[in-house]
């Protein structure tokens, strides 16, 4: 659908009003960022709703945002750290893995939620108009609340283990941005595909699980043979996790080549995702 928001030039009683033109979808690709900006209030309402609803009518409530990552950390420490004795580059294993869980949990959650965002809001999509893009976007943004809580836990762990961050901490937002864009980019693909093929719903858990094992969440990148490192770098989450460990735990800096590869990959996924989403957007309400 193409909606042009230009003000009509002719002098007529409607001239002060916004003109809306509805016509058959053209093959031209329009990003229409300005429209998303126009709907920013609705976007913030969606984000607020997701946060408000997430822990309603649960006994522990927001406490789950603490328990979930801590439990994972304990399980990983027992299995991978204590039993499997995976190396952690001289850093205590619990904080080593928690530092990776921080961006990873955010990523996995955002990916899962955003890939389901359109189908789970089918009642909205078929009844009200708004730029559909804000649905997956709101899911990615809502994940910040859990991330922030987990971050505070990490700071407490750092104090406990007496680990100081490196100057790389200033680059932390950049690493986070890569995680956000990756989750959003992949989420766009999956949620648009999910509208048409509900198979996606079953595929997403596999994707996140597989993705976790191909990311250095429970282990160190050093386990990957040198000659395969470049291939490993194709996974943007590798750079993100390496970056987090570098910034917060003063571990060696991530390879800049690998980081560049990651960034390029992310951008390709994201642009492709937006394009595919925008292209199929018009048919959502007909086939959802």
């Amino acid at each position: 659908m193409t909606i042009s928001m230009n003000t009509a030039q002719e002098t007529n009683p409607c001239s002060h009003r916004k003109k809306i033109l509805i016509k058959a979808p053209s093959s031209m690709f329009k990003l229409n960022i300005s429209e998303i900006w126009e709907y920013r209030e609705l976007l913030s309402m969606f984000v607020w709703r997701d946060i408000a609803v997430r822990y309603k009518q649960s006994l522990i409530g927001i406490g789950w945002a603490v328990i979930q990552p801590v439990m994972t950390m304990i399980i990983f420490s027992l299995i991978f750290g204590y039993l499997a004795k995976l190396p952690s580059e001289g850093i205590p294993y619990p904080i080593y893995t928690f530092c990776a869980l921080l961006p990873w949990n955010y990523f996995a959650r955002s990916l899962t939620d955003s890939s389901d965002s359109l189908v789970s809001s089918a009642n909205l999509v078929t009844k009200v108009y708004f730029p559909r893009l804000i649905l997956p976007l709101s899911k990615v943004l809502a994940g910040f609340i859990d991330f922030t809580i987990a971050f505070v836990i990490l700071l407490a762990l750092m104090v406990w283990y007496q680990i100081a961050p490196s100057y790389g901490i200033f680059l932390l937002p950049a690493f986070m941005l890569i995680a956000i864009l990756t989750a959003f980019g992949i989420g766009l693909w999956l949620t648009a595909l999910n509208v048409k093929y509900r198979d996606i719903k079953f595929v997403v858990p596999f994707i996140t699980q597989l993705w976790m094992y191909t990311s250095p969440v429970a282990y160190s990148t050093s386990l990957i043979p040198e000659k395969w490192q470049w291939l490993y770098g194709l996974n943007p989450m590798v750079g993100v996790i390496e970056g987090f460990r570098w910034a917060l735990l003063s571990k060696g800096a991530p390879d800049p080549v690998m980081m560049s590869v990651s960034t390029v990959i992310v951008l390709i996924i994201l642009v492709g995702g937006i394009y595919y989403f925008r292209k199929t957007e018009q048919t959502f309400s007909d086939i959802i």
Partner: protein
Amino acid sequence: MHIITIRKLTKIYKLGQTHTNLLSEKIGNKIYALYRKLRNSDVTENKTAKYQKSDKLENTIYALKNVSFKVQQGEVIGIIGSNGAGKSTLLKILSRITTPTAGTVEMYGRVTSLLEIGTGFHAELTGRENIFLNGSILGMKRFEIKKKFDEIIDFAEISAFVDTPVKRYSSGMYIRLAFAVAAHLESDILIVDEVLAVGDVKFQKKCLGKMEDVAKKGRTVLLVTHNMASVAALCERGIVLDNGNLIYNGSIDKAIAIYMGENEGAYCGSLHLSDIPKSHRQGNGLITITKIDFFVNGNDLPSEFIICGNSLTIQISYAVFNPLPLKNVNFGICFIDSFNRIVSRLETDLLDANFETISGNGSVLCEIERFPLGEGQYHLEVGVSTQNEIYDYIPNAGSITIQQGDFYKTGRLPPSRQRVFFIAHNWRHVGKAKNLNKDNPSVRN
């Protein structure tokens, strides 16, 4: 200058066939085609061809065909048509939920659409929170919602429960809240679909009142509903859609008449009796009843809907096979309910209203001011006679359906198990009981 201009709007739905450039799906389609081929291989060639042909036709549906019309600012337009006529598709295109296949729409100003009320309500959130959420979804700005918040609460009559999650609301409260938010939208163009079909009658009336206010404020309203009474009350102009075509655009009364007429199927509104064979009739056949038509509320066209409490005119048409005029002719009709009870018999003889002379073909009219029978199916008997001979008598002249109607004009009816027919009556309060029977000692005070 028109606030809405719709030009040659067309929407085609493709069913059962998807088309994308995805490789996986193309492979899938191939496999599916092969599977169908295998499945159909045991069917005769002819049948396969027929099946495929009908399948092809079913694949494309014209939900709208070249629909064009213009709307002036401040107009309230009712869009009517039977199910599947394309009303909802039109509203969905205007609401920008779906795109047209061809044609354009030009609109000026802020458009809000109410295709359902309470869109996006979240059961876990409180009434207050849902007002903000639902308001935003409907396109209101935060400050507008804040400004109107108290008004909304008052309108919905839920002020005591504003901080209770809506999942604890009764369905009535839920609907009231949902409508209240919608009713307070500020927009230039309001698109409404069937939302009046909710809630209790009292609340419906309140909503109708609110809608009238909206219309009076100079806002443009497009309204889709099956409730002809509300369409007639609210709209000046009506648009009738039939099978995706716009078949009428003009005064609302005419539009309703056309819609009602169009709804009249082969057997509705009229009972054609000329084909009933002699074996199913009694009488000498000097006069033969050929047709019965039912007209509701003085409409020109026979109506499928015979509505309880509304005026009904029954027209009995006949053919005369006697060269000489017939004297003192009696027409009668009986209503038989689904328990095979004759519930009422209308006859000219009983009213001393026999027709003095009948010569040549014609018809007689029976006028009922407020049709009193409750809703349901009724069989009809019809006959014409004199004191001495029966000309024609059809014991099974067909059946009619009476629709539930607002008999008492209050919007309220007794429960369906406590009504078979209605009695027009009055209630009065006289303070002291009237001593109707002075000899009866039991009536005192």
